[in-house]
């Protein structure tokens, strides 16, 4: 090497050459250039949650002439707002987003451009990292939106300072709630990605995950806390949230964390192994 190629100068090449940063920025660019996928897949959930809460407060104000007495601790309220991650409709939207990120290469037959250049595993890792980043951004927006709304409501309610009282330990609760929501969404993303890879189809990933989510919600409504021991991600996340808001005593919540983590690792490993061996003769 070192000689001029293609008439465009001497290449500078990293011999170790795992272009993970390049892959990550590429995946970010691709997602930014698909605003529909970015909004509906990753940002519509916090936007809708906030809009729904504003609509409820507005409706209450119109009916009664004043705002309802809300959560006094805005951090605790924000922690509770993260429960949106367990909502089946929110999960449907997130699955659509994640599946779109992975399916785009099958849809446009683009693995043939990427795999020879970057190898298989770094490509999957970059895609998954981008999904997780946007999920984190969505969760942060949920928290920030809830806090701004509660601050504004407190201000409107009291007519004085918008500052609501913050109880000690609420930051820990918020952090734990964030971790639970993130783990739940990350395991969901890993499952959706794996199904997209297996079936090379978006619809084949979205429909089963949504149906399982709905089924879990129905079972949970019917059986209540009794079903929390079934090691499903949504049961584990809900049980962990219930444990957290009930005072977080005992190792029960830690076990539910473990369940979520196990799902995340199992799905990510399965997806990687399947993609590693997947023939891309037709994409």
């Amino acid at each position: 090497m070192g000689q001029t190629r293609s008439g465009v100068g001497v290449p500078v090449r990293n011999p170790k050459g795992y272009p993970v940063n390049a892959l990550f920025s590429t995946e970010l660019l691709k997602l930014q250039r698909q605003p529909g996928v970015l909004f509906w897949g990753f940002l519509s959930v916090p936007a809708t949650a906030l809009a729904f809460k504003i609509a409820l407060e507005g409706f209450f104000f119109l009916r009664s002439g004043n705002f309802p007495q809300g959560q006094t601790d805005i951090l605790l309220s924000a922690a509770q707002s993260l429960g949106i991650a367990g909502n089946p409709i929110a999960q449907l939207l997130y699955v659509i987003g994640v599946s779109s990120v992975f399916y785009v290469e099958y849809r446009f037959l683009a693995w043939r451009n990427l795999v020879p250049r970057a190898g298989r595993f770094p490509l999957l890792a970059a895609k998954f990292a981008v999904c997780l980043l946007w999920m984190v951004i969505g969760l942060v927006l949920t928290v920030v939106g809830d806090m701004i709304l509660n601050t504004a409501l407190n201000f409107l309610r009291d007519g004085t300072s918008g500052r609501a009282p913050i109880q000690a330990g609420s930051i820990l609760v918020l952090s734990a709630a964030f971790a639970i929501a993130f783990l739940e969404l990350a395991s969901l993303a890993a499952i959706a990605a794996t199904l997209t890879i297996i079936f090379r189809s978006m619809i084949a990933a979205v429909v089963p995950v949504f149906l399982v989510g709905i089924a879990c919600s129905i079972l949970q409504a019917y059986f209540g806390a009794a079903i929390a021991s079934v090691p499903m991600p949504s049961f584990a996340a809900d049980a962990a949230r219930a444990w957290l808001f009930a005072g977080a005593e005992g190792p029960y919540g830690i076990a539910r964390f473990g369940t979520l983590l196990a799902w995340l690792l199992a799905a990510a490993t399965a997806g990687s192994l399947i993609f590693w061996r997947q023939p891309l003769n037709t994409e």
Binding site: M1, Q3, T4, R5, S6, G7, V8, G9, V10, P11, V12, R13, N14, G17, P19, A22, L23, S25, T26, L29, K30, R33, Q34, V104, F108, L109, A110, W111, R112, N113, L114, V115, P116, R117, A118, G119, R277, P279, L280, N281, E283
Partner: protein, 302 residues
């Protein structure tokens, strides 16, 4: 670990690939071996289903062979050795929501090279459309962008599957001269598959003809055409020649075609002259690549 002939840019050794199982199994490649010498333009020919695309996909790492191995510049095919290859596999596949410039920048970043994309855009003839989204591109423009993407990482060899597909006649001429230029000026090895035999004959130094996943014929283009050249004689008694060489002579073009080696020609002429057969004209007639291709690929059918 090194493998293959280090003088070859790409070495394919005993590669087998079967798709499907049981009764539906289809053997796309059946113990194929070939070597693509560095710096040459190598044409891969074969009818549909001969295994050309499967071979290119195996070289690209998109499909794993069941048996055999690929080496690239003397190294076993892996992600690192494949970085010395630029590839345009089958129809060009791009994201319609990105521009041509964004595609090239993306592949340059991915290849970890400090490539300026502007000269490549100009070189493949789409500089005027650099900031247009690919959704608005014709097939020919996508093909040019595909070549640009193959060049962006400063490859030592490029693999092109049907590179002139979708191009207009002017575009085909430009692409031909670009490929020749890449080989001659930049010293890049080019492996291309094409159905356009005329194109292959014009630009390739060597060719391989595949049939049913096996090598039907290979060699230098001139050498291959020469090996199938026939000796044509215009004589006063063609019937006598046909009768004296029953299995090696055919009537045609107002004379007799004789299937002999070049070194046998003087002896044949002497024999005919001794038999008082008057020879008005004698010449070697070389087939074109299309005739060689048809004779090699139809051998099983006949």
């Amino acid at each position: 670990m090194s493998n293959g002939d280090e003088k070859d840019a790409i070495t394919v050794s005993g590669v087998e690939k079967t798709f499907g199982w049981g009764g539906r199994a289809f053997k796309a490649l059946d113990g194929l071996s070939l070597g693509i010498p560095q710096g040459c333009v190598y044409g891969l020919l074969g009818p549909n289903g001969a295994g050309k695309s499967t071979l290119l996909r195996i070289i690209a790492g998109l499909v794993r062979p069941d048996r055999g191995s690929i080496s690239i510049f003397g190294q076993d095919a892996c992600r690192e050795s494949r970085r010395r290859l630029g590839m345009l596999i089958e129809a060009p596949a791009f994201y319609p929501f990105l521009t041509a410039r964004e595609h090239l920048e993306m592949f340059a970043r991915m290849s970890d090279t400090s490539t300026m994309v502007e000269p490549i855009l100009r070189r493949v003839g789409i500089g005027y459309a650099a900031d247009k989204r690919v959704a608005a591109f014709s097939l020919g423009m996508k093909q040019r962008l595909g070549i640009g993407c193959a060049l962006v990482a400063h490859p030592d060899a490029i693999v092109l599957d049907e590179p002139t597909n979708g191009l207009d006649p002017d575009g085909i001429l430009e692409m031909r001269s670009l490929i020749v230029d890449l080989a001659q000026r930049d010293g890049i090895t080019v492996l291309l598959s094409s159905h356009l035999l005329d194109e292959v004959e014009r630009i390739c130094d060597r060719v391989a003809i595949l049939r049913n996943g096996r090598m039907a014929a290979q060699g230098g283009v001139a050498e291959l055409l020469d090996s199938q050249a026939r000796f044509w004689l215009n004589v006063d008694l063609p019937q006598a020649v046909l009768e004296s060489l029953p299995s090696r002579a055919d009537a045609g073009d107002g004379g007799v075609y004789v299937h002999i080696g070049r070194d046998e020609a003087p002896e044949l002429i002497r024999t005919l002259a001794n038999a008082n057969i008057r020879i008005f004209e004698a010449k070697w007639v070389k087939p074109d690549l299309e005739s060689v291709f048809l004779s090699e690929t139809r051998r099983d059918i006949q």
